[in-house]
Every structure is written in structure tokens, then in C-alpha cells.
């Protein structure tokens, strides 16, 4: 009898507990989530606000610094790593005259990314052209960088989205992922050394990169088989795996450019393009 009572009390308690749990869950589960959502949102808002402020500050600093870049001339060392293409490194001369005159004068055939290295800088010079959104922080080459999405305001333009990894203190771009309507997505790594210069007559510092590493999709790059087939070489001889000089992964191409900045805003590029125009 005692046992029967105990069992029935136990069952009643269990049902009661589950009923309370269910009712409770209905009662506070969603509000709890809402609260959590509110809390998180509020927290993120707070965090995002800081990050967003940081991003805006860094972008402003970057833009003002880039605005000083008007006339550049550099000796550039180029190494390309493209699947099934063997090309030796070469040294050339690079000229840039703001806003859009860029030329690499090479004594040899050079493979370069379609996007020239100054185009991003030139785009970032105009803060009215985009909106910067902080996305968080990440480490790039052991340096804490702020991840900033740059959304072009001109929806129909060539630039679609730019993601920048900007050093939290120096406002140097360490990495960029650029998506353009015509050129697809290109990643670029920016490497810095001692190229910090002051524009003559001002306090503006330009942190020009020592070298750039572009990485782009090469999965669609094909060479016509009819022309590459060599009837006089056996299959074992032909088609050996080529060494990738920059260690690009399969389906990717890399182009590394090392710079020695010879002239910053000294009119070298203006003279070069002026002479070209006269020619």
C-alpha cells in the first residue's frame, strides 16, 4: 500500500514537474531569448560602436595619408607564379600619376595582375565613395588588424566589395580582398619595411608597401591543347609538374611585386607621362 502511494505520489510529482517545466518554458524561453538577443545586440552595439569608430578613424587616417600620393616612381621587381606558365623574375620601372595614370615600363615581357597596385589606394582616397563597416579583429602576420568591409556607394560601379585588414595603430593595409565587376576577386598582401616618407612641406606620412603579393583565381586559365601538344615528346617527358616559385595553391596564380620607391611627388611620373604624350 505504502509502495502504491509512493508510486502515485511520485508520478504526480513527475507530471507536475514536467507541466511546470513546459509552462515555464512557454513562459520565459522566448522572452529569455529576446533578452539575450537584446543583451547581445546591446553588447555588440557597444563593441561595434568602438570598432566602428576605430574603423572610421583608421579609414580617415588612411585616406588622408593616401591623398598625399600623387606622383610615384619606383623600381619594381616582379615575380609571377601562374599555372603552366614559366616566366623568370624581372625588374621594371613603375610610374603612377594620380588619379589613373599607371604604367610599368619593362624591358621584358611581364605578367602582372590586371588590377594595378595603385587602384585601391586611389579608390580609398575618396571617403565619399564608400562606407566602411568594422567586421572585427584578426591577426595578420602576428599583427592585430581591424577587418573593415568597404562598401562602394555607387552600386553600378566596378568596385563591388573591398575587405581590408588594417593595422590597428599604423593604419597600414596588411591585407585586402577586392571584388570587382570586371576582374573578379583578387587578394593582396601588403608588406612593409622602412618606406615611411614624409611629403615635403607637410606632416603627411606615406607608408608605401615594400612589396605586394597578389593572389587571383587561375582555374579558368587554359592554354590551347592543339598548340601545346608536342608530338615529338612522349607523355612521360611532357607535362611534368612545374615548380611554383611563389607556392601558389592549385588553381591560383600569384604575382609578387617588390618596390624601391625612387620618387614620391617629385614629378617623375608627370615628366614620364608628359614625355609619352609628346611622343
Amino acid at each position: 500500500m505504502k509502495n502504491t502511494q509512493r508510486i502515485s505520489v511520485g508520478l504526480m510529482l513527475s507530471f507536475g514537474f514536467f507541466a511546470v517545466m513546459k509552462a515555464d518554458a512557454n513562459a520565459w524561453n522566448f522572452p529569455f531569448c529576446d533578452v539575450r538577443y537584446e543583451e547581445n545586440y546591446g553588447g555588440n552595439e557597444l563593441l561595434d560602436n568602438d570598432l566602428q569608430k576605430d574603423a572610421e578613424r583608421l579609414m580617415e587616417k588612411l585616406a588622408s595619408r593616401l591623398a598625399g600620393l600623387r606622383d610615384l616612381q619606383a623600381t619594381v621587381h616582379v615575380q609571377a607564379d601562374v599555372p603552366r606558365v614559366k616566366v623568370r623574375p624581372l625588374t621594371a620601372e613603375m610610374f603612377f600619376l594620380a588619379p589613373n595614370r599607371f604604367r610599368i615600363r619593362s624591358p621584358r615581357l611581364a605578367l602582372l595582375p590586371r588590377q594595378n597596385p595603385m587602384e585601391l589606394f586611389e579608390f580609398l582616397k575618396g571617403p565619399q565613395n564608400y562606407r566602411a563597416l568594422a567586421m572585427g579583429q584578426e591577426k595578420v602576420r602576428n599583427q592585430v588588424c581591424l577587418v573593415v568591409n568597404v562598401l562602394p556607394l555607387d552600386g553600378g560601379g566596378d568596385w563591388q566589395l573591398i575587405r581590408l585588414w588594417i593595422h590597428s595603430e599604423t593604419a597600414r593595409i596588411y591585407r585586402a580582398e577586392m571584388t570587382r565587376r570586371n576582374l573578379g576577386t583578387v587578394e593582396a598582401g601588403y608588406f612593409y619595411g622602412s618606406n615611411s616618407r614624409t611629403v615635403p612641406g607637410s606632416n603627411i606620412h606615406q607608408d608605401l608597401p615594400d612589396s605586394l603579393l597578389f593572389e587571383l583565381d587561375a582555374s579558368m586559365m587554359k592554354l590551347p591543347k592543339a598548340l601545346t601538344a608536342d608530338l615529338h615528346r612522349s607523355n612521360s617527358q611532357a607535362g611534368t609538374v612545374a615548380v611554383r616559385p611563389l607556392g601558389a595553391p592549385d588553381g591560383k596564380a600569384r604575382v609578387a611585386m617588390g618596390f624601391r620607391w625612387n620618387s614620391v611627388n617629385n614629378g617623375a611620373a608627370a615628366r614620364f607621362f608628359g614625355a609619352q604624350k609628346q611622343d
Binding site: 614559366k86 623568370r88 619593362s106 590586371r114 592554354l223 608530338l231 615529338h232 612522349s234 617527358q237
Partner: protein, 280 residues
């Protein structure tokens, strides 16, 4: 005595109108190719580099004298054996057909020296023909298009060779192409010893080239072990000189195979001609 005979044989080649057919054909063909490339070369190159240029930009002109020279050589070296065989296949059999061979072997010069001077004259003709091709293909192309880096398509893909390295490679390539063409000349002169008319050696040489080329290109396991030892497999070995790095072991093997063919053919020719019953 041998040098005098070589000189005589070279003069005889010069005196025959058919000897100039090769030069005329090369001049015409190279002219047509150069004109076509000058007018529409860029679109020809777009076909090759089109997909590459979707993401990458090629700074500098790929269409230059070196590339045009390379394209011309690639197109014409296939046809040169016919032009060579046309003249060298006639060296002995032509004499037999004209009835001058009997008189020729009555001279104090030994039959071996006589035949060696014929082989020598064939080498001179082949070399002059190649020099003409080189002047037309590389020299004129450089004059029209200017120098530049050479972009070569091969089984490994696209290779870009610096301009300064190209000319020495062309010279080496011509030397190797000479050896390959001289093998054809040696075949036709040897065949010429066997026949009393010119058609047989010329057609026989071309037929042999065709058969060997077919065997070389057919991907049948039966021919796999034979293929490396056919002279036709090594006719385009000169192209390997434009690879980076240069596959010297392959090139040396090609030189070895071609040299063995030349020596064996000349040996057989000398042996046969020495014992040949010359009735005409």
C-alpha cells in the same frame, strides 16, 4: 682531291634549276607567313593568351621577331625534308639517269671518295638552305617586328625566355635542325645509290619519313620501344632547345640517334656503291 670533288659536286648542284626551288619556296612561304602575322598576328596570339589575359595583363609585346622566327621555323621545318630530298635524291641516280655515272667513276678518285664528296655536297646544300631559312625567318622577322622575349608553347605550358638568351638558342637549334635534315639528305643520297632514276629516291625518302612519323605518333604499345630510335622522333628535337631548363640529356640522345642514322646510312651507301655494278 676530295675537296676538289666536293667543289665540283657543289657546282653541279648550283647548276641545276631544281636546287633553287627550295630557296624560292622558302622565300615565298616565309613572306606569306610574315605578311599574315604582321596583319593579323595579334589575333593569332589572342587565341593563345586569351584566357590568361582574363586575369593577368601581359606588359610588352609578345609578337616580336623572335616569336615570329620561331613560328616560321616550326611551320617550315616540317616541309624542309622534301626540299632537301628533292636535290640530294638526285645526286647519284641523276648521274645514272643521264649516263654520266660510268664516266665519273673512271676518274682517279676512288668510288668511296666520290660518294663521300656527294654526301659532303648534300651537307653543303642542306646547310645553305637552312642558313637561308634562318636569314628569312629570324633575320627578316627581327627586322620587321623587332626583338623581344620569346614566348614558347610546349607540353609544359607557356615559357617566356629573355630576349638575350634567344639568339644563342636559335643558333644551337639551327645546328640541331641541320643534323636532322642531314639525316634526310643521307637517306636520299643512300637511296640514290640504289636507283637509276631520281623519282625513286625522292619518293622513297618521303615515304620513309611518313611511315616513321606515323609509327612515332601512333600511341600503340607495340611501337613504344621503337619510337625513341626512329630519326623522325628527333626531327623536331631543336624545339627542346627553347625549353627552360634545357633538357640536355634528351637533346644529347637525339644527337646520338641522328648521328648513328647518318653514320649507318653513309656506311651502307659506301659499302653498296663500292660494289655496285655500274652499267650506265
Amino acid at each position: 682531291m676530295w675537296w676538289a670533288s666536293l667543289y665540283n659536286e657543289s657546282i653541279k648542284i648550283l647548276a641545276k634549276p631544281r636546287s633553287y626551288l627550295g630557296f624560292l619556296a622558302i622565300t615565298l612561304l616565309v613572306g606569306v607567313i610574315l605578311l599574315a602575322l604582321a596583319l593579323d598576328g595579334e589575333s593569332y596570339l589572342d587565341f593563345v593568351t586569351g584566357s590568361l589575359e582574363q586575369n593577368l595583363m601581359i606588359e610588352g609585346s609578345m609578337l616580336n621577331g623572335h616569336l615570329v622566327g620561331f613560328i616560321v621555323l616550326q611551320m617550315l621545318v616540317v616541309h624542309l625534308p622534301l626540299l632537301v630530298a628533292l636535290v640530294t635524291g638526285d645526286l647519284i641516280s641523276g648521274e645514272a639517269a643521264m649516263g654520266t655515272l660510268r664516266n665519273l667513276v673512271t676518274r682517279p678518285l676512288s668510288r668511296r671518295s666520290l660518294l663521300l664528296s656527294k654526301y659532303g655536297a648534300a651537307a653543303v646544300y642542306t646547310m645553305v638552305l637552312l642558313i637561308w631559312l634562318g636569314l628569312m625567318a629570324v633575320g627578316v622577322a627581327q627586322w620587321i617586328f623587332g626583338p623581344g622575349d620569346l614566348a614558347v608553347l610546349s607540353g609544359e605550358g607557356l615559357q617566356i625566355l629573355p630576349s638575350v638568351e634567344v639568339m644563342p638558342r636559335f643558333l644551337q637549334a639551327f645546328a640541331l635542325a641541320f643534323l636532322a635534315l642531314y639525316t634526310v639528305a643521307a637517306i636520299s643520297v643512300t637511296f640514290s645509290c640504289l636507283a637509276d632514276n631520281s623519282i625513286g629516291p625522292i619518293v622513297g625518302t618521303m615515304a620513309l619519313i611518313m611511315v616513321f612519323t606515323l609509327i612515332g605518333t601512333l600511341d600503340v604499345p607495340l611501337f613504344e620501344h621503337v619510337r625513341p630510335f626512329l630519326f623522325t622522333t628527333h626531327m623536331a628535337a631543336w624545339r627542346s632547345l627553347f625549353l627552360d631548363p634545357t633538357p640536355w640529356s634528351d637533346i644529347l640522345f637525339s644527337i646520338g640517334v641522328l648521328t648513328v642514322h647518318c653514320v649507318a646510312l653513309m656506311g651502307f651507301g659506301l659499302h653498296y656503291f663500292d660494289r655496285k655494278d655500274i652499267l650506265t
